[in-house]
């Protein structure tokens, strides 16, 4: 079976390079550490939020900027299915707090030498299999609720993406600066 197991070498090479850099960054950021992830949820260590917010702020300018400059950049937006997105996020959050990793950081944590992350990754493979088996029921009962298709805030409001990106940057800079000040004052 699986006569075509491998995709073409160029895409594999590029995916591999992206993965290497991504894993390198995650480890240097400390988000491959159990105590950093749990510390975020305990609101004691805001590393995860800082990394993610910064990535989203920088990423959004680049993607929408390149599109505005006329480059042919396709968006890859995932379907909005209100019940599925919300329920999935809640279930994910519960698991992530216990496991101490999300899928990407669990795989990177294995590389950093956290042996218990291997058990988490094996569980994830089983979880993916269970979801696939339950998919027919889930598709008709959950993913059909509040399904708006692959929409962005630009699509549903008709506003310019730059309004949202500017809002994101203003809120991000103000929020992160306040956070840094708060952390400095609470160092003991």
């Amino acid at each position: 079976m699986f006569e075509i197991f491998f995709a073409n070498p160029t895409t594999i090479l590029m995916g591999g390079i992206a993965g290497f850099l991504f894993g390198f960054l995650l480890q240097k950021g400390g988000v491959t550490r159990y105590d950093v992830i749990v510390g975020q949820f305990m609101l004691k260590d805001f590393t995860v939020l800082k990394v993610m917010l910064m990535a989203v702020m920088v990423g959004s300018v680049g993607i929408y900027g390149m599109r505005a400059l006329g480059f042919d950049i396709a968006l890859h937006v995932k379907t909005t299915a209100l019940l599925g997105n919300a329920l999935g996020g809640l279930i994910f959050g519960v698991g992530m707090a216990v496991l101490g990793y999300c899928p990407g950081t669990a795989v990177a944590a294995m590389g950093e030498g956290s042996r218990h992350a291997i058990a988490g990754v094996l569980g994830m493979i089983v979880g993916a299999g269970l979801f696939a088996e339950a998919y027919p029921w889930i598709e008709s009962h959950i993913l059909s609720v509040g399904n708006f298709g692959k929409v962005t805030f630009v699509d549903i409001t008709g506003f310019s993406p730059w309004l949202f990106i500017a809002g994101l940057w203003v809120a991000g800079i103000f929020g992160l600066a306040s956070l840094e000040r708060w952390e400095k004052n609470n160092q003991s």
Partner: protein, 184 residues
Amino acid sequence: MISMLKKARWSPYVVGTGIGLLSWVTFALMNKALGVSTTFVRTAGMVEGLVSEDHIRSNAYFVKYLGTLEGPYPVFEWQFALVVMLVLGAFCASWLSSTYLRETVPDIWKVRFGPSKGVRFAGAFLAGIVVMFGARLAGGCTSGHGVSGSLQLAVSSWIFFLCLFVAGIVTAWLLYGKGGKSNV
């Protein structure tokens, strides 16, 4: 440059900027959004497929990602390579700064649930199932939704991001709140 690579931790803003820039490259050069969790569907499909190929070729979810018997898609594609290389990237980063761990039970887990490896491994395995079930139900994980989706201003991703944090905070406080708080 060398001293930076040897440094154990980088500023979260530097790391976040790096991931943001990496997303520019994947969108522009590879026509892809950074993501991880779909690879777990392909892996599960591959494992189940070794037992019964007919089964995965007739499951609507596996067909989406692995194709049909007549028109199969490759298992080891762009994102699969990305996930495999995450291991090497993180290994090299920790090796350069001599921060490679041999962690079997995290310290804060030990304080709360005891030093048993078996308990931690079982807990991690079960939590892994929950994490991935949630990710596939939502349509992505912290990478695909949290970073790639949010930066595209996708409605689905911001809902996921918000719900993830709410549930994570509540769960962590139920597990580690009160007595455990001082150990985190």
